[in-house]
Each structure stands twice: as structure tokens, then as C-alpha cells.
Amino acid sequence: MSVVADTQEQVAALGEKYKYGFVTDIEMDRAPKGLSEDTVRFISAKKDEPEWMLDWRLAAYRRWREMTEPNWARLNYPKIDYDDAYYYAAPKGSEGPKRLDEVDPKLLETYKKLGIPLSEQMVLAGVAVDAVFDSVSVATTFKEKLSEAGVIFCPISEAIRDHPDIVRKYLGTVVPVSDNFFATLNSAVFSDGTFVYVPKGARCPMELSTYFRINASQTGQFERTLIVADEGSYVSYLEGCTAPMRDENQLHAAVVELVALEGAEIKYSTVQNWYPGDENGLGGIFNFVTKRGDCRGARSKISWTQVETGSAITWKYPSCILRGDDTVGEFYSIAITNHYQQADTGTKMIHLGKNTRSRIISKGISAGKAQNTYRGLVSVHPRAVNARNHTQCDSLLIGSKCGAHTVPYIESRNASARIEHEATTSKIAEDQLFYCLQRGISPEEAVALIVNGFCKEVLQQLPMEFAVEAQKLVGISLEGSVG
């Protein structure tokens, strides 16, 4: 029996608007408001970082001061005042990871509301969670089991202290400090995030998962993730995101770097459900994220899967650099925008090596007055003999006031390249909707059903336990899109 079938009824059962819109009342430890060298020093000191890390941050900060915010995306939002935000917030008394039973019960309560099983159920589920609460990782589970396999899975702040050699070797090598405005900002002020190292030949024994949650108001979240898969290893990593409901906009500028060495495979899945703002476009997260993977060794593979249902603004292009010969890059995406949400998302597949292959499947769904843009680059460099790309880009419109846009960039500098691009735009047909209604299905459930069908190829890429959540989200995020 398919997962889709099992969850359709739950879509209807979940009648709430934004289920995760609660605020946990915990005393916060904050950096002074605004952004300066002092802020950077404050964060670095809080993290007890070595000198090299502080220097790295300061260099990024100085570089950032000279940069200007990019404006090429098809996004419309008020100017962000970077001096009117807090760049560091941590629950008081929880600096550094703790054992689960030492964690503030209020935090655990929050996780419970989010439906994260941070307990014995974890063993059954086989998922290890490095839960990031605002900026500090407060609970890391299953370290022992992972360390048996030689896998390092810890907050990046801890990795900087405990595994400086690996971190220094790879940090900033996929997304350089000066890469772009938001990545550079992140490099200066990132407060925490996740670090994963999978040693040679190891197959990570479980799905690794991190839930990020922005809790403190007026706090930007700048997490930094670094995943290194050594030769011949395999790892699957999942991130889920939610944020409470607030009237003001909050900035989220994350950086994720993936490095796959020879023969390694990394599967990175995201279910992004940050607060999207209300039905009038008030509030919501500004999500400016730089995600990039480097297939550094031959025959390596990186696969991105994303389900983007939240955020007022999404600016995100998880990309693959296919550097090694015979490497494979994949990008599977569902981006849903409703009400006044705007998404400008896609990928870059940079073919550098011989016989490199990439596959892009993008499903954009737009409802209400939302705007949804797919922006993708397929670039074949002169040395990339026999490069292959297939892009499938489908847009679905619900109602007549939303927009879908497809902006593909294709650059081929090798005559042997084969690049295919298919794109479709459709509306939920009135006859499909009527057929469902005639069989007793409500309009909202019918839309969820049809959209889940539309997204099926991408949903199938998600690990089982997340596919269920993602399908529910598809239904919830489109509530109110049909009258």
C-alpha cells in the first residue's frame, strides 16, 4: 500500500492553519543587537573557538561589508536592516551539548509539539537527531552507535574544537567565504549547525536528521552544515524546519557544504516549513540559503531532494559541482507557494569531469497570489566529454492570481554534451476537481490528492518517514487555495 494512500486522510484531519506557531518561553542568552566586528567576536568567544576560526569569521565580515545584496531574483521584499537583528541567541545555561535527561523539559516539550521523537522511539525509528534550538545544539543522540561506524555527527561548534583538522580542510572549500552576500554573512556570524564525517568505505548505519527551529524573536538563524563523505562511503541526511508565527520577518541565511570523495554518495533531503506569513502576506521567514555539493572524487554522487512549503521568501539553489569523472548530480524539488509567498529556487549543475550526469526534476505549485520561479543552470565545461543532463520542470497553477516562471540557463562548451530540457505548465483542471467531488472528496482534499500525484516523482525520493510528513505538508500548505 502506498504512503500516499495512508496519508490522504490525515491531510484532512490536520485542519490547523500553521500548526507549529507556538513560542517557547525560555530565557535567552543574546548577543547585543546589530552587526559589527564585536558581534563576530562575541559569537566566536561564546563558542570558545580557536583563533583561526575567529580570523576566518572576521575576514568574512570585512568582505561582507563591501558586498551588496543581490537583486537578480524574481523576488519582492522590503529592504532588510542588518543592524536591527540579533545574531546570536541561545537558551541560557545550555551552552554545549548535554545528555537528553539534562535538557530543559520546556525544550523537550517544544520538540514534542513538533513531533520529533527525542526518546526511546528514536531507536525504533533508527533516526539520529542533532536538534538545533536556535543556535546551540542541545541534544545529540546516538553518538555511540555512529561512532562504532566511525561516523562523526555533532554540532559544528563542537567539531571546530574537537576535529579542527577535518573542519579546516573542508570548510569553505565548496562555498568560499566570498561566494555571495548571504553566504559571506553566514561565514561571519554562523552560530551553529551540523558536522558529519563518514570515513572511508563506511555506510552510515542510520538516516541522520536535524531539526532547525527559530524560536527567539528578531533573531536571524545562520546555521552552517558541513558533510564530508570519504572514499566509498554513503550517508543520507535529512533536515526539517519550522518556525513560530510572528508578525515581523525573520532572516535565515544558511550555508550547507557537501563533499563527496571518490565513489562516495551523499543524499541530502530537506522538508522546509518555516512560517510562510499569514494570508495577507504579513510576517514570515526570509530564507536565503546557499547549498552546494562537490563531487570531488570520481564516481561520486550527490542527490538533493527538497520540499519547500514554508517561508515568505525562498532564495535557494542547491547545486552540484560534478568535478570528478563519472560523477552524478541530482536535484529533486517541490516548491509550493500560497497566499503571498514568493519562491525563486532551482539548482546549478556544473559539469567539469568526463561522463558526468545530472538529473533535475522540479515541481512548482503556485496558489493564491504567490509567485514561483524555477531558476536553473546546466553548465558543461570544455573538459566534460559526454556530459548528460535531463531537466524536467513542471509547474501547476491553482487559481488565476498566481504566477509560475521558468528560467533555465544552459551553457555547453563541449560538443559531445547532451542536454534535455522539458517544461510544462498546467492548471488543476476543473474536470479533475469535479471528478473527485463527485466521488465524495472535499475540494481541499481533492487539491491535496491531485498535487501529491503531481509531485509523486519527487516525494518518492524522500526517505519513508519523511515522505509521510511531506505529503501532509503539501495538503496543509495549500489550505484555502480553492473556494
Binding site: 490522504q8 463527485q438 500525484g453
Partner: protein, 249 residues
């Protein structure tokens, strides 16, 4: 159970039904025949509550209640089933998923408990065999790549599954060869029951050799122009629609 009185209905401002009166009793099987453009399909959509089919005059009651005040999904939950002439494709949604979603939506609306996936599968399998609906078909996306016969058999399978009190079959015979027609007709006949009324809409008398109606109505230009027993269908076949269209209702 179904009372249609002086029904006028328009699509895009154009009047299609022009004073149609028809009544179907509990458990009765009625045939509605008529030439192209006489309003047969329009009537089926009006009864199912499709958007864009506007009732301008007259009344429709179902089980004594005003049918026109109910939403399409409420009508379905209250036992109105429309087997469509052109069943719709829904890519990516497996047939079984669709059946489960619909069945549970109707059960929920009636206050019954929902069935889990295994129970639905068992129930569907029971009904599917007689209609030669294979497991493989159930796993395919709804109606996507189905042949004409497969689509119609799936419609009848849904009728068997939902057990409606009033089934409207809109040109269920169209596009079927004789073997496929017989299979579908057998399926329909197996579902005849004292508490299940049917309105069989067809262009040709042929279908009525297999599904024998209690009453026959002839529709022309949005009105019923002749009514009678099953022999009326044969007379119609012999004389043609033109003969009836000249007579006032």
C-alpha cells in the same frame, strides 16, 4: 426518490434544459434516451452539482430534500453516483489510493469509521474480479493510459464500491465493443437492487438489450417528449428520434 419538476438549466448563459420533468422511484431503473445535444449529459451534471451548470427555474428533490442546495461531495455521500462518459485522468495518484480516499471521505461524511488500507484492498478485490479489473490496473495512476473499456469498468467498480442509492450512467456504452459492453452491462445488472435506482443515459437502444429498464424517457431539446415502458426504446430504434421530436411533450 428523485423528482425533477420543470427544470430549466443553462451553461454559459445558454439554456440547455427547458422544462424537464422526470421522476424516478426507489429501486427503479429508468432509461433516458435522446439525440446529441438534447441535454442528456447536462442533466447528469446538474444532478451531480457540477460548477457552471446553473439552474434557472424548476426544482429537483432527492429523498424529499432540495438537491440543488447540496454541494457535489454531499450528494455523493448521500448516495448519488455518476458514472461518467469521459472518466478523468489523475496522474501520479494510484487507482487504489483514489478509491480509498473517496470511500473514506464518503464514510466520514456519513459518520462511519474509516477503513484502513488493507480493508479497502480486500473490499476492492472482492468487487474487482467480476469486472476483470486486475491488481495491476489498481496500481496504475487513475485512468492514465487506460483503454476505453478499462475506464468504463473502473467506473462500474466504483459504483459497486460506493453502493449508491441513485446511480446515473452517462453513455456508459459509448466507445465499447460488444464484448466490453456485455461485461459492463453484467456488472451493472449485478448491482440492481431494491434500494438502488438507476438512470441509464444512452444514445442507442443497444445498451437496453442488456440493461432492461422499467421506464424509458425520450429527451429532445431539453424536454421529455415521450415516456413509456421498455418497448418504447424499440419503437424509437425503428422510427428514429425525428419522429418523436415533432410531437409536443
Amino acid at each position: 426518490m428523485l423528482e425533477i419538476k420543470n427544470l430549466h438549466a443553462a451553461v454559459d448563459g445558454k439554456e440547455i434544459l427547458k422544462g424537464l420533468t422526470l421522476s424516478v422511484g426507489i429501486g427503479e431503473v429508468h432509461a433516458l434516451m435522446g439525440p446529441n445535444g438534447s441535454g442528456k449529459s447536462t442533466l447528469s451534471y446538474v444532478l451531480a452539482g457540477r460548477e457552471g451548470y446553473e439552474i434557472t427555474q424548476g426544482s429537483v428533490t432527492y429523498g424529499g430534500k432540495d438537491l440543488t442546495a447540496m454541494k457535489p461531495e454531499e450528494r455523493a455521500a448521500k448516495g448519488i453516483f455518476l458514472a461518467m462518459q469521459y472518466p478523468v485522468e489523475i496522474p501520479g495518484v494510484t487507482t487504489l489510493t483514489f478509491l480509498k480516499t473517496a470511500l473514506n471521505a464518503q464514510r466520514r461524511a456519513r459518520g462511519d469509521s474509516e477503513l484502513d488500507a488493507m480493508s479497502v484492498l480486500k473490499l476492492v478485490r472482492q468487487k474487482a474480479a467480476a469486472l476483470q479489473v486486475s491488481e495491476e490496473m489498481l496500481k496504475r495512476a487513475l485512468n492514465v493510459g487506460f483503454s476505453g473499456g478499462e475506464k468504463k469498468r473502473l467506473e462500474i467498480l466504483q459504483m459497486a464500491l460506493f453502493e449508491p442509492a441513485l446511480a446515473i450512467l452517462d453513455e456508459t456504452d459509448s466507445g465499447l465493443d460488444i464484448d466490453a459492453l456485455k461485461l459492463v452491462a453484467d456488472g451493472v445488472n449485478a448491482l440492481r437492487a431494491p434500494d438502488r435506482a438507476m438512470l441509464v443515459i444512452t444514445h442507442y437502444q443497444r445498451l437496453l438489450n442488456f440493461i432492461v429498464p422499467d421506464r424509458v424517457h425520450v429527451l429532445a431539446d431539453g424536454r421529455v417528449v415521450a415516456e413509456g415502458g421498455k418497448e418504447l426504446a424499440l419503437e424509437l430504434e425503428a422510427k428514429g428520434y425525428a419522429h418523436f421530436m415533432r410531437e409536443p411533450a
